[in-house]
């Protein structure tokens, strides 16, 4: 059942112990939602607990500073920024069937929860949580403002993407007035590169090759690069987007050798290329502008070389067919 923020606030205020759940592979929005809501519930005297199928990445740990979680079973379960049961992940999957309230901003939300508060025009689910907290008459402390700002800035690429509305900026202005340390959060989210990230980025850029008269760019990241730079998966964040950012590139390919000896391809395309169709040829899929697939060979490096060849070939054929 679709409800509004007043009803959502009412449901939450009637509960005794609320468990808030973030989606697997948690990002700034789902964690910003959870931490802000948990702080608001705590302020209102509720027992609180939190669950997520994956650990909270170190860069987001400040969101949960100072929160005290209750033991025992909750009498109310609230999923935040989770569009679909599948996205709970393994550990929290049992709660997907017992979700009392889902607060979300994905137009694709499947309505799996008993009650759903959905605003698909919101740039971040944190925009919706902000409304719920105010409907609950929670005082927006600097901590809460910081949690909400984190979700909004991360889900909009720091106010860069097309999902930003005037309302997004208005909320950001208010959260800053309420004490959100915006510059600190942005620096932490967007401007801090580990030395390992710098080193892997240097190598990734150095690996970039161009095909099809500059319309296809291919970047390769090998396990050797990961080992030698000490980079982790977190350090690769955003790298697959780089090849398509080059002027004239219609197909930006990022080939990554995985530790299991396969090679994973992330493909980003511009019109008229269809990333999902191109990756579909190799058993993968995704969206029109971003898709993925995988290649297998005797070794990871061979799989990466195969992936490069096959992807360049597929892009070449598609571009020829279009011309």
């Amino acid at each position: 059942m679709n409800i509004d923020e007043k009803k959502a606030a009412q449901l939450l205020l009637q509960a005794g112990h609320v468990r808030v759940i973030s989606h697997a592979s948690p990002d700034g929005d789902t964690l910003g939602c959870a931490s802000a809501l948990l702080r608001g519930l705590s302020q209102k005297g509720k027992a609180i607990s939190f669950a997520c199928s994956d650990p909270v990445p170190e860069k987001f740990s400040y969101l949960f500073n100072g929160l005290t979680f209750s033991q025992g079973e909750p009498d109310f379960v609230c999923a935040v920024d989770i569009a679909d049961k599948q996205l709970f992940g393994k550990v929290t999957a049992p709660w997907a069937e017992k979700t009392d309230l889902c607060i979300d901003h994905h137009g694709t939300n499947t309505g799996y929860a008993a009650h759903t508060l959905l605003d698909s025009r919101a740039a971040a689910a944190c925009e919706v949580i902000d409304r719920v907290l105010r409907a609950m008459d929670v005082t927006i402390t600097p901590d809460i403002a910081g949690c909400l700002f984190t979700g909004i800035t991360t889900d909009t690429g720091c106010f860069r993407y097309g999902n930003v509305t005037p309302r997004t900026h208005e909320i950001a202005a208010r959260l800053m007035e309420q004490g959100a340390p915006a510059a600190d959060i942005n620096r932490r989210m967007f401007e801090t590169k580990t030395r390992a990230r710098l080193e892997i980025e240097r190598r990734a850029l150095a690996s970039m090759e161009f095909f099809c008269e500059g319309r296809c760019a291919v970047m390769t990241i090998l396990q050797k690069d990961m080992r030698e730079t000490g980079a982790t998966e977190d350090d690769l964040d955003g790298l697959p987007a780089l090849p398509r950012q080059i002027e004239g590139v219609l197909a930006g390919v990022c080939v990554k050798e995985k530790p299991d000896g396969t090679a994973k391809v992330s493909l980003r395309t511009n019109d008229p290329l269809d990333a999902a169709a191109l990756c579909g040829r190799f058993g993968g899929g995704g969206h029109k502008a971003a898709a993925g697939c995988a290649f297998h060979a005797a070794s990871g490096e061979e799989a990466a070389a195969l992936a490069r060849r096959e992807m360049v070939q597929a892009v070449t054929e598609t571009l020829e067919a279009l011309s």
Copy 2:
């Protein structure tokens, strides 16, 4: 004489032909200011002209679309986002002595103009222009809103930097409501790289060296790199920000060899280092977190080497004094 926006509006409305001047090596803020102000003056029936010592980079050319400039001499000269006579550059240097009004946001403004409208808390000079246009009773068209948004988003690194205030977000919200194509502008400003840019970025990253136990990072861009990659000044935009982004770096130095055989330093700092004070030692200046200075030697490469040595030495001494 320091004046407020009402007085600035009055002065501009009394003029017949206003020449607006942007600083040399123009960026999004000085050009956003100029184009927005020119559009507002044109709307008010003024003759307008524009001057800048360097050409308008291609990526900013849309700002001036549809503007018609008058021949002949102006009876009023307005400098925008120019803190100091030195920053006019060669071509417009003569106007530095005859500036009737300067509209700026640099705390270091030298007060060289007959009248100065300065708000050093504004994240971008475009925030100040916005106030002047409203004091002039100009209708903020989508074109004007786009020009102002361009200045604000470029001078704040897309709302990322510490200079952003709640007011910055409030203005952005209003400009979007007034028709600024925010997502398009952000994509154009931040998400498109030329091939030459990619090549110079590869080299710049490869040049990065670390000093002071990782607290000082130095990037060097030589004329040789520019020649071999075909990069222009435009392609260097944002590169000076990279060294400070590395975890643990308090002083990010970018040394650039200029075609005239000097070396220009861009310094970005984090607390407790003061970029303006550090560059001040070498006759430069700027803000607390971002400043610049120049070095001279027998050749450009020697000047660059000197700049590296002197900056590392200055940072080392300052860090030692602080510890």
